[in-house]
């Protein structure tokens, strides 16, 4: 579809001519996000400056039945911002002000387009911690994080984005501006719409302002690494650590293929003969951190670790975290198309799930490596193929279908943190069942009767 001239003029009247683009070269870069393969070109891109402009845009879109896709930084991995039905991409990057940081109330108020790390740095400058730290935090926006309920490396101890959203200002597709929650830790007046909007992937409303909770900055952090002969042993160690009463901030794992790829890429001096690597870290007062890391190390040794090392300084600690953070790019260098998923299972079934993934990869003859968050059972099986090899891409997709089925069979889910978007919508019914799918659609219709907001994604 193309937009008629009068509609374009009306868009321009709302946000200014400079902030509306419709030429092919101007809209092409908005045809995709960080998800490989998926791509669809929008008809227009608009950059509103404030909540009122967003409201006017959505009212107009509902009136004219034009799809609108909200977009932050476009770093999501589930094709959530790919405008599959064309229409307007609404970019929030101009709304990038930090409105308030309140050390007294331990909260911050920001516009939706503020990059996550900008918020984290501003909080840190006042001795405060914004806990959610997705690997993409230098790129992603706070609005995008809330809309996808982003997780991160500290999920086990600190939870995910959901646990830090106190309130939102959201514009409904029909143009009403609502304020949910607020500056309160306790507030049970009404359904918890803040939680509903969190993770709604831009299908229920456009978030324009967020109030998020902050924590006092922990005094120190430290990291250690343990190598195991197999992932099963690493899995046992994770159970032992938590069984010992410790909930570390970080508990991440790499399988043997990832260790190889990361070492090849970053030369960190990792052990190449190990079957799995477990990265653990904690933060807090120095003596507590030291004691906890010591106990974690002990549990690893008891569970059969080949070797346990604690980072002797901050630089080494950073290097170890780099090993985990660069897993994806390191793997991506093995081919030209990197397909990444994030199936999640209950923590005790982690090792069994990794075995299943290996078996599936063998069956479909696709190379698959797995890394992820051992603490919360969130796995990132990653398949690297040649982007011109149609057959291999097809086999990889089949293999992932089996991986999702296996996850569900183990009481797990098809996505732990990356979201559903267009990429995983076809698998959603298998996870939720027909009744919940129908309820999702009714909720969607209640918010968005004309079905204009991010159509073809959640709630479709």
């Amino acid at each position: 579809m193309t937009l008629d001239r009068t509609l374009v003029a009306e868009l321009e009247a709302i946000v200014g001519a400079k902030h509306v683009r419709t030429d092919p070269g101007d809209v092409e870069p908005y045809a995709r996000d960080a998800t490989p393969v998926f791509r669809a070109v929008p008809d227009a891109v608009v950059w509103p400056a404030d909540t009122e402009q967003v409201a006017a845009l959505l009212r107009l879109a509902t009136e004219r039945r034009v799809p609108v896709v909200p977009r932050g930084a476009g770093s999501n991995l589930c094709a959530a911002t790919v405008p599959e039905r064309g229409g307007i991409v609404l970019v929030l990057t101009r709304m990038d002000r930090i409105l308030e940081i309140s050390p007294g109330e331990l909260l911050a108020r920001v516009e939706a387009g503020v990059p996550t790390s900008v918020l984290a740095d501003a909080a840190a400058a006042q001795g405060l911690l914004y806990a959610p730290d997705p690997g993409s935090r230098t790129v992603s926006t706070v609005g995008g994080n809330v809309a996808t309920c982003a997780g991160g490396l500290r999920g086990l101890k600190y939870g995910v984005t959901r646990n830090y959203v106190l309130g939102t200002t959201a514009v409904l597709p029909t143009g009403e501006v609502i304020s949910t929650g607020g500056r309160l830790w306790k507030d049970v007046a009404g359904y918890d719409l803040t939680r509903l909007l969190t993770g709604s992937e831009g299908t229920l409303g456009v978030l324009t302002e967020l109030t998020v909770a902050l924590l006092p900055m922990p005094a120190t952090t430290n990291t250690g690494v343990a190598y195991f002969g197999s992932l099963a042993e690493a899995g046992r160690a994770v159970d032992a650590i938590i069984g010992d009463g410790i909930v570390p901030a970080t508990l991440e794992f790499l399988d043997a293929k990832c260790i190889g790829a990361v070492e090849e890429y970053a030369n960190l001096g990792l052990r190449l003969d190990a079957g799995a690597l477990l990265l653990f870290g904690d933060d807090g007062p120095a003596d507590v951190v030291d004691r906890n890391l010591g106990r974690i190390g002990e549990q690893c040794t008891i569970s059969g670790a080949l070797e346990v090392t604690l980072a002797e300084d901050v630089a080494r600690s950073e290097a170890l975290l780099t090993a985990r953070r660069c897993s994806l790019p390191a793997l991506s260098r093995l081919g030209t198309l990197t397909l990444l998923e994030d199936a999640t299972v209950p923590r005790p079934r982690l090792a069994a799930m990794v075995d299943r993934i290996d078996e599936i990869a063998d069956r479909y003859e696709v190379p698959m490596a797995t890394f992820g968050h051992a603490g919360d059972g969130n796995l990132h099986p990653t398949c690297v193929v040649d982007q011109r090899d149609e057959a291999a891409i097809h086999r990889a997709h089949k293999a992932f279908g089996d991986v999702f089925a296996a996850a569900i069979e183990m009481d797990g889910t098809i996505t732990g943190e990356h979201g559903v978007g267009a990429a995983k919508l076809p698998y959603l019914a298998a996870r939720l069942g027909a009744d919940q799918m129908a309820l999702l659609r009714r909720i969607k219709a209640a918010f968005d009767p004309a079905g204009i907001l991010n159509p073809g994604k959640l709630g479709s």
């Binding site: 683009r21 030429d23 092919p24 070269g25 101007d26 092409e28 870069p29 908005y30 045809a31 995709r32 996000d33 960080a34 998800t35 490989p36 393969v37 998926f38 791509r39 950059w47 930084a73 476009g74 770093s75 970019v91 990057t93 101009r94 990038d96 990059p115 790390s117 993409s136 230098t138 790129v139 660069c326 994806l328 790019p329 991506s332 260098r333 030209t336 990197t338 982007q387 011109r388 090899d389 149609e390 891409i393 097809h394 997709h397 089949k398 293999a399 279908g401 089996d402 999702f404 089925a405 296996a406 069979e409 919508l425 076809p426 698998y427 298998a430």
Partner: protein, 405 residues
């Protein structure tokens, strides 16, 4: 166990073959993760994906597959709006060689008559060694007899005429270095303006004229030369001093106290050759080094950029000058003549008390115990290029010519 229902609208089409404008190895590397967005100066001012590294790669892909044709106005605009600063490279987890992609893009997009006439004119001048020699003669750069030696100083095509004092300062620091006057342009100018083959040819020729190690005071030239002649043969000045273990002597003082000195990195030196610690260490040895937020990002000189896109160039520079002034420094050290010209001219224009000075000048002044001279006025009538009308105007008053090579 059976897999879940295969998605009906599955889009897993393989990438179609391209038109051969880009090396597929380079173009395929990008995983569209967006990590480069926060590093890009043009994205910072535009907040538009199309003016980001990832967006530009998307545009290149559209050009390669034919989804957009080369006359698309946005393609043309982005091939020139990009500074070519390569700040997107060190932050890229997938190792995308953006600088190489940009060269291939401009080779195609700016071929023949599509090239900006001003860039064409500069390249023609730079290719003519006798002309360069003449400019240098008038301005008295350093020179020695041309004897086959281990190490010689590269004079730079425009630098030798514009900042002849820099090569003289190098001779103060390195009395034994050879400075043969018979040397041409390194070709970086060509490589960045749609003539990458010619750029490589000029670099090879310079490599023959200056056998052995080539020392240069121009970060941009160093990166280009190293790319063609090999990393080992090329030393940027600060790198050379660090490698040869030379310890800076003396101190730069102002009003009896140590001078406060910031730096403006050279983009290609930093992002291409990853040299940035060395000049900082040298500055710290002779003055109080002041880190300034954004001192690593592009100053907007960017080769011919400040001439081709003066408004964007100033827009990118302005917040940086604010930051230097807020930091209250006395000098900003540069390691590339284009940056020197850009900072010198624009600091002057805003009547700032800060002066831009090349690293060689700073170190030579410290060594000789002399006060640093004020940034020198470039005494030619100001020549303004009005690009939209393609005409040239002669300014009434003297000022700075916007050269940068």
């Amino acid at each position: 166990m059976t897999g879940l229902q295969h998605p009906p609208h599955e889009q897993h089409m393989a990438t179609p073959p391209g038109r051969g404008i880009f090396d597929p190895q380079l173009l395929d590397r990008c995983i569209s993760c967006g990590f480069c967005l926060p590093a890009c100066p043009t994205y910072a001012v535009s907040k538009d994906e199309g003016s980001s590294p990832r967006g530009r790669i998307t545009l290149m892909r559209a050009l390669e597959t034919g989804r957009l044709d080369e006359d698309d106005p946005r393609l043309r605009e982005e091939s020139s709006f990009c500074l070519g600063c390569r700040a997107c490279e060190p932050v890229c987890p997938a190792g995308v060689q953006y600088g190489d992609l940009l060269e291939e893009w401009r080779d195609h997009q700016w071929r023949g008559r599509h090239r900006p006439p001003l860039a064409q004119a500069l390249m023609m001048v730079a290719e003519r060694t006798p002309l360069l020699r003449m400019m240098g003669l008038v301005r008295r750069h350093a020179r020695t007899a041309a004897v086959p030696v281990q190490t010689s100083l590269m004079l730079g095509c425009f630098e030798r005429g514009l900042f002849p004092g820099v090569s003289r300062a190098v001779r103060t620091l390195l009395p034994d270095i050879a400075v043969p006057p018979q040397q041409g342009c390194c070709g970086a100018l060509h490589a960045h303006n749609g003539e990458s083959e010619k750029g490589r040819e000029l670099a090879r020729k310079l490599g023959e004229q200056l056998p052995g190690t080539i020392v240069t005071t121009a970060g941009g030239c160093a990166a280009h030369l190293a790319g063609v002649l090999g990393r080992d043969r090329v030393h940027e000045l600060s790198e050379h001093l660090a490698k040869t273990g030379a310890t800076p002597v003396g101190e730069v003082k102002i009003d009896g106290r140590r001078a406060r000195v910031a730096i403006q990195d050279s983009c290609h030196l930093r992002n291409g050759l990853r040299v940035f610690a060395e000049p900082r260490a040298l500055i710290s040895a002779v003055a109080d080094f002041v880190p300034v937020r954004g001192d690593e990002s592009c100053c907007g000189s960017a080769g011919t950029y400040s001439l081709l896109r003066p408004r964007d160039s100033k827009r990118i520079l302005a917040p940086k000058l604010d930051a230097y002034e807020a930091a209250g420094v006395d000098y900003v050290v540069t390691v590339n003549p284009g940056c020197q010209q850009q900072l010198h001219a624009n600091l002057r224009r805003r009547e700032s008390a800060i002066r831009a000075v090349h690293l060689a000048d700073l170190l030579a002044a410290a060594a000789e115990g002399r006060p640093l001279t004020r940034g020198r006025r470039w005494r030619v009538p100001r020549v303004r290029f009005d690009l939209r009308r393609g005409s040239r105007r002669r300014g009434a008053s003297g000022g700075t010519a916007g050269w940068s090579a």
